[in-house]
Amino acid sequence: MFKLLKCIAALALFLAAHSVVAALNVLACEPEWGALVKELGGDRVDVYVATTARQDPHRIEARPSLIARGRRADLVACTGAELEVGWLPLVQRQSGNPRIQVGQPGNFEAARYVTALEVPQRLDRAQGDVHPGGNPHVHLSPHNIEKVAVALGERLSQLDGTEAPYYEARTQAFLQRWQQAVAKWEQAAAPLKGMPVVVHHKNFSYLSAWLGLKEVGELEPRPGLPPTASHLSGLLARLRTDPAKAVLRAAYDDPQAAEWLSTRAGIPVVVLPFTVGGNDKATDLFTLFDDMLTRLLSVAK
């Protein structure tokens, strides 16, 4: 009996000691926020990313592994703006974790800290899959990443007060490196101003706004509906009078429609990684924008 008590005491001490060193458990909805949390949290955070760059975040289901990860998460770092409305609320409801519910500090929505583009005047499903809060793909402007980083750094400090100085230092360091990188990118991206492009889906709006690209058409007839032959033919006809320099698509988009238009209009397809992990080069937020700019500049001539 005494031996059992000793064992239990030892186990309890071990667990207590272990929990002091334990990292902040973070469930990131998309790879870009996972990368940002890793930059700001360093080795004090343990990040699991729910989706990969090869997956369309609209089509994800609340599968068992996400519910299990949600159960132990201290922080859920997502975009918000209804991007994850098909699965995140279910993960929150079924995880039995009071910390990540709506309104709690453990629920972080990046879109709240940036100015939304394309907020619809009228909400109607006949317009396709529109988001009431505006275009949710906010991570594609580095100025937005900066704003979110400030808020995320504060949130990490709020959730894990003992490590607050560490998070603050890392946030400041990140912001400094980021601002230098942004200045470099803006200088290099001067030739891209006004370049006309066709996009597969309206998920590049923040990138286009930042770089000054002109989106002259979309492959999807309406947001969320797959490209149709009639719509593509109409787009091809329009491009004859109003030409574009390239067709942009994300790594997870269907290549067929972009290839079709590219061959007939004689313009190249640019496959952008869209988020961290979209290709071999985009391994973190810095290399993501480096790679996207390199690819865009290669067709800007």
């Binding site: 068992p64 132990r72 039995g96 269907d254």
Partner: protein, 466 residues
């Protein structure tokens, strides 16, 4: 000569430089110029400052206007009593059916009828159930959900009306009210989310279509990377296979456990085991005797049901947009022990109410696969089968009067079905389905059912379960 010297001296004197009086004047002029410069400079500075401030104000004004616009826009959407309105969605469904047998004569031979609406849809055009869902967070501690099914016969059935906790610690979730039991895989999902127009045979035979509980449920999710969850439900036990008992205490209980996870990035799976324990009292069904006259049989005893379920979903790289595959199956095993009472007083009145021991060991299973081969198209196939097992009818075995022919529903027979379906979903809110079933639920008959079904959803679109 002297004159010249005099003029030269005068010129020299004149050129000797300005007089001190002229010096002072120059200095004065210089001072005045400097003063003017300073005054003008300070005025220009002041003007520039004012210009800068005015520009900044204009910029702020613009931003202020923009943010006021968005604030006004969002505020206009969120003021007044309606600001906290719940999410509302309406599902519209309907069918066109062509069946070789009359749906009114539908029966699963070999199994006690479950009393639910388990038959095929009515022939020709028919409206399905219109499902109204309303849900919202109630306060920081609870959320609520309501689902009403409005049947084409103008009845409103409450399918779900429950309250669930949001903030219990340590992975607990409690639910109370009326809800679909967490038993099995298909049972907690709404019918409009199923991959076929109807429930599989084991659901029709053992659960009356879908088991609803009036009671409470407690779930616990383990803090592990693999999903491990346990649940227990206590209910009044008045839905089939239970019966309305008018008794104090707990009429039925359910326990279930689920395990689930990922295999790589492309595959997700979940397996579960459930157990239902319920004690029906005077659970009756209508039958006919050997002469075709009506009889009523009722069962009192214990009913125990085991369900094992598994589901596997695959998509290339985990992206289900273009192609994906879902494989799913469940196995049911039911044990009933108790007493059966045969009553032909409403018909032939040959024997009057006769009672005898009654125990059954019956099982069933189904396996279905659905493959999405193009962004909006899916093809599915399902095989269901029930096994008659053993049915020991004490009334017949003890020769108390009625014979096996007086229990036609319980004729030994193992029903099976083959179903194939093709559906087209132009968006995630609309679906059109074509389904063919070769239905051998009735002994000796194959019912060829062709069904066209539509499912449309309006309003908020809640997330569906895995």
């Amino acid at each position: 000569m002297f004159k010249r010297k005099l003029i030269a001296a005068a010129i020299a004197l004149a050129c000797a430089g300005p007089a001190p009086a002229q010096d002072a004047e120059l200095a004065k002029i210089r001072e005045e110029i400097t003063q003017m410069k300073e005054v003008y400079e300070s005025r220009i500075n002041a003007l520039e400052k004012r210009l800068a401030e005015a520009e900044a104000k204009a910029g702020k004004g613009e931003r202020g206007a923009a943010s006021a616009e968005t604030a006004a826009a969002s505020a206009s959407r969120r003021t007044g009593e309606n600001a906290f309105n719940p999410a509302i969605s309406l599902i519209l469904q309907g069918t066109y059916a062509d069946t070789s047998q009359d749906p009114e004569t539908y029966q699963i031979t070999g199994f006690v009828p479950s009393g639910g609406e388990v038959g095929p849809p009515k022939r020709s055009f028919g409206l399905g159930e219109s499902e109204l869902n309303i849900w919202a967070n109630i306060d920081p501690y609870f959320q609520g959900r309501f689902t009403a099914a409005l049947t084409p016969d103008n009845e409103a059935e409450v399918e779900e009306a429950y309250v669930q906790t949001l903030a219990l610690p340590s992975g607990f979730i409690a639910k109370g009210g009326r809800f679909f039991s967490g038993l099995g895989y298909l049972n907690p999902l709404h019918q409009h989310a199923w991959d076929f127009q109807d429930a599989p045979l084991p659901y029709k035979a053992f659960l009356g279509g879908q088991l609803k509980q009036d009671g409470v449920q407690l779930k616990w999710i383990a803090p592990t990377d693999l999903l491990i969850e346990f649940g227990v439900e206590l209910s009044a036990g008045d839905q089939f296979p239970g019966s309305d008992q008018g008794r104090n205490g707990i009429g039925g209980s359910t326990v279930f456990a689920h395990v689930g996870g990922d295999i790589g990035r492309s595959t997700a799976w979940r397996a579960g085991l459930s157990y239902l324990d319920i004690s029906p009292k005077d659970r009756s069904y209508d039958d006919v005797d050997a002469f075709g006259m009506p009889t009523v049989n009722s069962f009192t005893g214990k009913s125990k049901l085991w369900v094992a379920d598994a589901v596997l979903k695959w998509a290339p790289d985990g992206d289900a947009t273009r192609t994906n595959f879902k494989l799913q199956g469940e196995y049911f095993r039911r044990k009933e022990d108790g007493e059966i009472t045969y009553d032909d007083s409403g018909g032939s009145a040959l024997f009057g109410p006769v009672a005898g021991a009654f125990d059954t060991r019956q099982s069933g299973w189904y396996l279905q696969g659905v493959y999405q081969f193009a962004p909006r198209w899916r093809l599915g196939y399902r095989y269901d089968r029930l096994s008659f097992g053993t049915v020991n009818n004490g009334i017949v075995q003890s020769s108390l009067g009625p014979v096996a022919a007086d229990f036609p529903v319980l004729t030994p027979y193992s029903p099976s079905r083959n179903t194939v379906m093709l559906d087209w979903s132009p968006s995630e809110f609309s679906r059109l389905r074509l389904q063919y079933t070769a239905d051998k639920s009735r002994i000796g008959i194959t019912d060829d059912q062709f069904i066209v079904q539509y499912i449309y959803s309006l309003g908020a679109h809640g997330a569906h379960g895995f």
